[in-house]
Each structure stands twice: as C-alpha cells, then as structure tokens.
C-alpha cells in the first residue's frame, strides 16, 4: 500500500509541472506589458526597461517560467498589479474560505446522496425511487448560479432565514453550501443507484440472501461496499466540476474565496493574481485527485492487490 501511495505521489510531480507550465503559458498571452502595469502610466521608459530586466521579461518564456517556479516553491507568487501586495498573501488568506465552502458542499452532497441512491435502488420503481430520481435529474440540469439565486430569493429575501451574501458564521455557509452541493448530490445519487442496482443482481448477493441473512444486512454488509466503487469514481470526477462551480457560487453569494478574487482580478487585468488563483485551484485539484486515488486503493481490493 505504501508503495502505491509513493508511486501516486511521484506521478503528481510531472502533472504539477505540466499544469503550471500550461497555465503560465496561457496567461503569458495576456496583452499588456507587466512592467508598465506595475509602475503605472507615468513611469519613464528607463524605469520600465530597468524593471523589465529585473523581472526577467527580456528572457525567453521558458526561462521566465523557470524563475516563476523557483519563486513559487519558496511561496512567492509575484506582486499584484492592482494592490501591489504579494499575490501569495492574498491568495492564501482567501483560500481557506474556498476550502470551507467546497468541503462543506462535498460533505453535504455525499451525506444526502448515498442514502438517497441506495434507497432508490432497493425500492426500485417505487414512488420514492421515481421522485428522488426526478429530483436528481433536475439537480444535474439546473445551473448552479441560477439555483443559488433561487435560494437567495426564497430563503434570504422572502423568508429571511439566512443572510443574502458574505461569510459571517455558519448561517451564511448554508445557502452557498447547498447551491454548490445540489448538482453533485444529484450526480452521486444517480451513480449510487445504478451501481447498487447492478450489485444487488450479482450471484454472491443471491447466495447471501439464500443463506437467510436479513435484507438490511445484505444491503449494508455485502452490497454497499461493492456498489461504492463507482460512487467514489464519480465523487472524484465531480471535484473538478465542484471547483468550477465554486467560482460561480462565490460570485453569486459574494463569498470571499479565491474564485471571486480571480473573477475580480480578471476584470482588473491583474494577471499575476489570476495566475496565482488558477494555479492554487489546479494544484489543489491534483492533490485531491491523488487522495481520491488512494481512497480507491483502500476500498477496491483489486487495486490493493497489485501493490502488495
């Protein structure tokens, strides 16, 4: 197992190098001279030329990237054009808020989706099955930002139960958390249902039933564990969508995370800040994928056996 984890960890390194290079390359296509943007309109050509040299802008792109990466490893992500503050400082001060929102949503969606999917499968073609699958179908079809607006309209403006926007305690987490969770809950519930349906038709489940084990034990002890493998795959696949979704959710609820920081930096043409935010998202995404892979190894004995 340790061999498996080490192998996955090592495989992460080229991915992170590739991702950072790709993002750095794309962002380098952004128009405007960084030196000019940092110094402002009234800088003299000499000042600009000096800063360009200091920043290494006269070097080829690959060298610039190398310098950026070298600094990145020491926690330096450059300077914001707008605030002139260190990008790393602003990104790291907002990052926990994004993690809280995404983490809460992941938790909510898994906790709601698993029982929903399992019950729908066990009671296939019942009213419960039909209703929950219609809800799940709506869930995967509804745009996150629109659902968020509807939640604000009903629970914040009409009923006044929760604040409209911002982050101030648990109460303000509920609406954005639900907005972000709904789509993922729906996707996880749909997969759980279909993999559960497939599992309970397997021969070994028939054997367990024939042994006379009570139905609830058949489901919880024997079927669930095998049915969960596709569910974990889907949870892993959902994480990318979750990050894109969190950008939209943060924008709807004025949530002080890096998604909203990124959007406001794009409209302010603050390239280093945008680069920092996207890198933060991508690196987090790679690390979470790694964690999902490792969990997968634990749950699926076939993968575990390969690395014994």
């Amino acid at each position: 197992m340790i061999k498996f984890i080490i192998k996955r960890l090592l495989a992460l390194i080229p991915v992170i190098i590739g991702v950072t290079f790709l993002v750095y390359f794309i962002m380098s296509l952004a128009p405007g001279d960084p030196a000019l943007l940092l110094l402002g309109e009234d800088a003299t050509p000499e000042q600009i030329a000096d800063l360009r040299e200091e920043m290494g802008l006269d070097q080829p792109l690959i060298v610039q990237y190398g310098r950026y990466m070298f600094k990145l490893v020491t926690g330096d992500m450059g300077t914001s054009y707008k605030t002139k503050n260190a990008v790393a400082k602003e990104v790291f001060s907002r990052f926990p808020n994004t993690l809280i929102l995404a983490g809460f949503s992941t938790l909510v969606s898994i906790v709601l989706a698993l029982p929903l999917g399992v019950f729908a499968a066990v009671k296939q073609n019942s009213l419960f099955d039909t209703v929950s699958m219609v809800v799940a179908l709506l869930g995967v079809s509804i745009p996150i930002f629109w659902f968020g607006l509807l939640l604000i309209l009903l629970f914040a403006l009409k009923l006044g139960w929760f604040p409209v926007s911002g982050f101030d305690g648990f109460k303000s987490l509920v609406l954005p958390g639900l907005a972000l969770a709904f789509q993922h809950m729906a996707a996880i519930a749909r997969t759980t249902r279909s993999s559960m349906l497939e599992t309970i038709r397997q021969d070994y489940i028939r054997t367990v039933r024939a042994k006379g084990l009570p139905e609830n034990k058949v489901i919880t002890r024997h079927a669930l564990k095998n049915a969960l493998i596709p569910t974990i795959t889907v949870i892993g696949l959902q994480i990318g969508g979750m990050m894109g979704g969190s950008v939209l959710t943060e924008s709807v609820f004025a949530w002080p995370g890096i998604g909203r920081l990124m959007i406001s930096s794009i409209s302010g043409r603050d390239t280093p800040m945008v680069l920092g935010c996207i890198l933060m998202f991508s690196i987090t995404f790679s690390i979470i994928n790694l964690i999902v892979d490792i969990v997968y190894g634990f749950v699926d004995p076939r993968i575990k056996a390969q690395y014994k």
Partner: protein, 291 residues
C-alpha cells in the same frame, strides 16, 4: 466492394435497432422533442422578432413591466421584452455549443484514434498531454483562456473547444482500444487494408456508442459553461442576448422584480434537462448491456 456494402448494412442494422429501443424510452423521446422544439425556436426567432427593434433596442417607456399578455415574460431594466430575448438567446448557446462540439469531437477523434490505434509512444505522448489539460478543471481552463485572450464569441469558442478536446480524445481512445483487438480488425489488417481505412471504416463505427453519448452530454456541458462564463461577465457580451448574461443583469433586481431572474434560468435548465434525458436514453439504447 462487396465487403464494404456488407459492413454498411451491418452497422445500419445496429443503429436501426438502437433507434427502436430509443423510441420505446419515454424519457428520451420527451428529451428529444423538447430539444427539437428549442432548436426550432432558435431557428425561427429571427422570423418572429426583429433583432434591432425588438431584442436589443432600449425603450424607457416600458421598463421592468411584470409578465402580461403584451410581454409574456415581462420586460427588463431597459424596457426590452424578455420573451424575445430568451428566444433569441437560444441562438448563441446552441450555435456555439454546436460549433464547439463538432470541432472538439473532430480533434478528439483524430487524437484518440491515433493514441488508441498505434499505442506505444504515440499513445503515451498524446495521453500525457491530455492528462495535463484534464488536470485543470474544465471551467477554470476556459476562464484562464478567456482571461488571457479577452472576451468575444470566437475566443469563447476557442476556450470551450480546448477544454472539451481531452474528454473526447479519452473516450475515443477507449472505444478504439476495445475494438482494435477484435478479430474483424485483425482480419482487415491481414488482408492488407490501410490503417486509415481500418480506423474510419471498422474501428470508429463499431466504437461509436460511447462517443455519441459523450457528445450529447458534452453539448449540455458546453451550454452550461457558456451560460456560466457569461454570468460572470467572461462570455457573450451585452447587448447580445444570452441566458447567463441576462441572469447576471437580472440579479440586481431580484428583490423587487424576481420574474426577471426566472425565465433565462428556466430556459437553461429545460435545455440541459432535455439533453440529459436524451443522453440517458441513448446510453441505454446503444448499449443494452448497461441497462
């Protein structure tokens, strides 16, 4: 020659069978009908509404009117008829999604076939590059590209295409891999058929099922992403009507004029819903084993 006609008949039979199964699927038929209706609305909007005078012209005599028989969906803060804008808005979403899906599918098909068919180094290089693209969440990759290139329809197409290619090439590669080692492909190789002929006449048609399903679902994803990007101001720019950017405008008036938020969102949801229903139905119809 004889070999070719035989093959065509066989694959025709396979898809005719799938069509029969699809027609029996109520959800899929509802989805297909709704989607065709939306396509009709998109095509016929210019017949019913004049773009200059009814869709983008501001009329300060009729701002923020609630839905009525004159304005079915009400009017927005510039006095524009929301019904006309929602109908016209389908054009941008569908057209961009169609272009993106076609280009991304073509590029993905070529890359995926090369990787799957030749294997080895070709496969490794193509798929490692795709892995890197896939290591950035699709929406963020699109945001990153738009942030660098700037907004505009053609840049939106570029951004959405680049973020769609990896999933297509992966699915095509998978399809090619499963077919490649089958006996009829080996037979074709044995009688000296050219690689290109084998890929396009034998491998792709037989691995088509998952590709069709993926295309339907990707079409839905692209529509959702266009709306999302427009909602945060990085997609279609006003005054051109687009569902996401209409919602972005409407949210400032959500407290007192909530109807403005209702219809563009509903339009997105119904479109995505119809594609999801169709996609689910296609998956069941094309691969009966999965049922």
């Amino acid at each position: 020659m004889a070999k070719n006609t035989e093959k065509v008949q066989k694959s025709k039979g396979q898809f005719a069978e799938a069509w029969v199964r699809l027609r029996r699927n109520k959800g899929a038929m509802i989805g297909l009908s709704i989607f065709l209706l939306i396509v009709m609305i998109a095509l016929l909007s210019p017949v019913f509404f004049d773009y200059e005078t009814e869709v983008i012209k501001q009329d300060y005599g009729s701002v923020k009117l609630a839905p009525s028989s004159d304005h079915w969906f009400g009017t927005d803060e510039f006095g524009r008829d929301i019904f006309a804008r929602v109908c016209w808005g389908s054009r941008a979403s569908l057209a961009i999604a169609a272009i993106v899906t076609i280009i991304a599918l073509s590029i993905g098909a070529v890359l995926g076939s090369l990787a799957g068919y030749y294997g080895g180094k070709v496969d490794m290089i193509i798929m490692r590059i795709m892995d890197i693209f896939m290591a950035i969440p699709g929406m963020l990759l699109a945001i990153c590209i738009v942030a660098a290139l700037g907004t505009g329809t053609e840049k939106l197409v570029i951004a959405m295409t680049i973020s769609s290619v990896p999933s297509f090439s992966r699915i095509v590669r998978g399809a090619v891999l499963t077919v490649r080692n089958s006996e009829y492909v080996r037979a074709a190789t044995a009688i000296g058929a050219k690689d290109r002929h084998i890929i396009f006449s034998h491998v792709l048609p037989n691995g088509l099922a998952p590709i069709i399903v993926q295309t339907t679902l990707r079409f839905a994803t692209v529509i959702l992403s266009i709306a999302g990007l427009s909602f945060i101001g990085l997609g279609i720019q006003p005054p051109q009507p687009e569902w996401g950017s209409m919602l972005a405008n409407a949210r400032s008036f959500i407290r007192d004029y909530s109807y403005m938020c209702a219809f563009p969102g509903l339009a997105i949801m119904i479109t995505i819903l119809s594609l999801n229903l169709l996609g689910d139905g296609l998956r069941d119809a094309l691969d009966p084993r999965l049922k």
